[in-house]
Symmetry: C2
Subunit: 401 residues, 2 copies
């Protein structure tokens, strides 16, 4: 008995016609597969429409009730797709998150899957070949309906595949994962595979195809994940464990344009001042991304630069100016005219010289960078917005992305 | 601790504005009530719209999946109304049918409530004053989401009131129960009370305010039911146990215009022929309502008249003509130009002479009737359609309805 989990996002099920096309796609896969779990999102923009409705009802709608409301979206998709499959003589059954045994924990609208009672789906497999499951939702220990937040349906699919010990196929608008976003670099190559770690790093650094959380689960349970499109003949991209022999020095490059760069000069070098800055930022729920610190030319002082989300610019500004009131000697600059260019490749771990190649490349082509941070498998630069295209083209060509 | 169940139908919750007005109405009732269960239907025409969507998806959508689909309608109402109540500082929680412990049995789209695990709602009452519950739905023994069919939200409300040992208030478009449909007789009086039996009889005989099934549950568990409107200052009508001292000879008069009258003359008087007729009608799923049999002037033969639903006219015609082929001597007439006028009053049981008064009334005013049947608390006549208004006016005036 071989089993497969297939997930279809909102745009794949936005109309009855699209669902009928998805149904045919699923039916073709039944030739080679004994049992299929289909995970679906809400139709098209349904979730956003329901959230708008909630905001009409209440200024601050309770999150528990938002979950109760928006979880209906997937339930509608599940029932309609199941009807279509049944009418095409496929033995199929539709399940909500709780009916599929998906248990969650955490805060409403951002729950995490705590466990899946897979006996519920297995039980239906005794009589049905296709089990259609509502993505994005589950039931918490109090019996409340919950949702999983962004990328939740991917998480549902991958967690189910983990429990069923099979692969997960994620069908989206794009035909797979590219080394560089094709909108930025049209001749970018689609990857046939990428490691869990690289995919997570790319996702964290701005690639929007998948949420890091779902890839984390895939990695933990070693679930091979195919990202592909149901509407093209693309082979898609497998996200999987990649051996060090297969590892590429640079797998992909991601661009994030929603950051601001904050630079503070002449801050007293005592740890308490620096801690105070970051505590105040944290108290205001400002997420800090890249952080870099250098010694000032003036003894006893340091320079600190960090990037934050551009949405938080007003809060950041307030925190920094409060700090300047306490220490009038420090200098302050907020630059919102930057992009963050990140290169990811698990080969960086073993292959030396990637950073050197990059620094030389940027220097040769007069691409000045303001802040550099590295992780084990990535290196990120902030550069001026107007240099974005030049940098992306240069990187893509140099590393054959 | 006093408790109350209030039910609001689809038109009461068809928009956020209407829900906000309902919320204020509920909040006013909290002055005099410790705990309120609110049962809601789907917003406006949502259920019909979802059924249309299902019919676009599949010619014969599976009934299990129809239930999964249409149950989302009440879930949306529940979450939005709860958000509105919460924003108005009322401690409230919203529950789907299964979360409210409503267990059902039977066939999909026409389930019946088998039991309610009331501990689920009682548990929430420890911290919340208002529990908003999705009407019309529950969960069957297999863990499938089910719906209760027509009038299902009323049934939910009354069954909850039975378990909570309190009253149920059903808020609808009409301000209460009238002796005669006000569209037929504008000066009709609204009843302050009506017995369960009279209400069931009126509902069976054509009154559309409530489904007989929900009144049956109210009677069995002695739940006082108020039918009223949230938008008028009407006192409404209580459906309750009525002592014989309070019993009126005639409480109400209902008109059904969807019947046909079938008359068969000269049928052999042997039981097997008569049985054969009704077996054939039953085999064709034709529901027979009034039946009357008289002896023919020709010895050994009988005359039979019955009424059936006008929708079944073709089937009835086929069955009768088959019978005539076997017995060419019998005569056959189908009259679709009739209405059924029914008078209901539990006082008929103890007060003699109601039938006599009616026969005299009809005779005095030249209202010929074709078929008469009686039950313990009702009497029904079929008359020509053109006599409808005259008969209704006469009855309403005579019995002060």
């Amino acid at each position: 008995m071989n089993t497969l989990v297939m997930k279809f996002g909102g745009s794949s099920v936005e109309s009855i016609e699209k669902m009928q096309s998805i149904a045919q796609f699923i039916i073709r896969r039944l030739d080679e597969t004994d049992r299929i779990v289909v995970v679906v999102s809400a139709m098209g923009k349904t979730t956003n429409e329901l959230i708008s409705l909630a905001k009409t009802a209440a200024k601050n709608p309770s999150k528990r009730e938002i979950d109760l409301l928006i979880s209906t979206g997937e339930q509608v998709s599940v029932s309609l797709l199941t009807m279509i499959l049944t009418e095409a003589d496929v033995s199929a059954i539709g399940l909500t998150g709780f009916q599929a045994g998906i248990k969650t924990e955490g805060i409403h609208t951002k729950n995490k899957i705590s466990d899946i009672d897979i006996s519920k789906i297995s039980g239906h497999f005794l009589t049905k070949r296709v089990v259609v499951v509502a993505g994005f939702q589950g039931l918490n220990e109090f019996g409340d309906i919950t949702t999983l937040g962004r990328g939740g349906s991917d998480t549902t699919a991958i967690a189910l595949a983990a429990k069923l010990e099979c692969s997960a196929e994620i069908y989206t608008d794009v035909s797979g994962i590219y080394g560089v976003d094709p909108r930025l670099y049209p001749s970018s190559k689609q990857l046939s595979y990428i490691s869990y770690e690289e995919m997570k790093e790319l996702a964290f650094l701005g690639a929007k195809v998948m949420e890091p959380r779902s890839i984390d689960i895939a990695q933990r349970y070693q679930v091979p994940v195919l990202v592909s499109s149901a509407h093209t003949r693309s082979q898609g991209t497998w996200i999987k464990e990649v051996s060090s022999m297969e590892a590429r020095s640079i797998t992909g490059c991601s661009i994030s344009e929603k950051d601001i760069l904050v630079s503070i000069g002449h801050l007293p070098a005592q740890a308490k001042y620096i801690a105070d800055l970051f505590i105040q930022l944290a108290d205001n729920e400002i997420n800090i991304d890249m952080i870099s610190q250098t010694a000032s030319t003036r003894p006893g002082f340091v320079n600190i630069s960090f990037t934050a989300n551009a949405d938080d610019i007003d809060l950041v500004d307030e925190v920094c100016h409060n700090l300047k009131e306490q220490h009038p000697e420090l200098s302050l600059a907020i630059d919102h005219h930057i992009v963050k260019v990140s290169l990811v490749g698990s080969g960086m771990r073993t292959q030396s010289g990637v950073a050197a190649t990059l620094f030389k490349l940027f220097s040769d082509h007069h691409i000045d960078f303001k802040l550099v941070t590295t992780s084990e498998i990535s290196i990120s630069y902030t550069i001026s917005k107007e240099l974005k295209e030049k940098a992306v083209n240069l990187i893509a060509q140099t590393f054959n992305l």
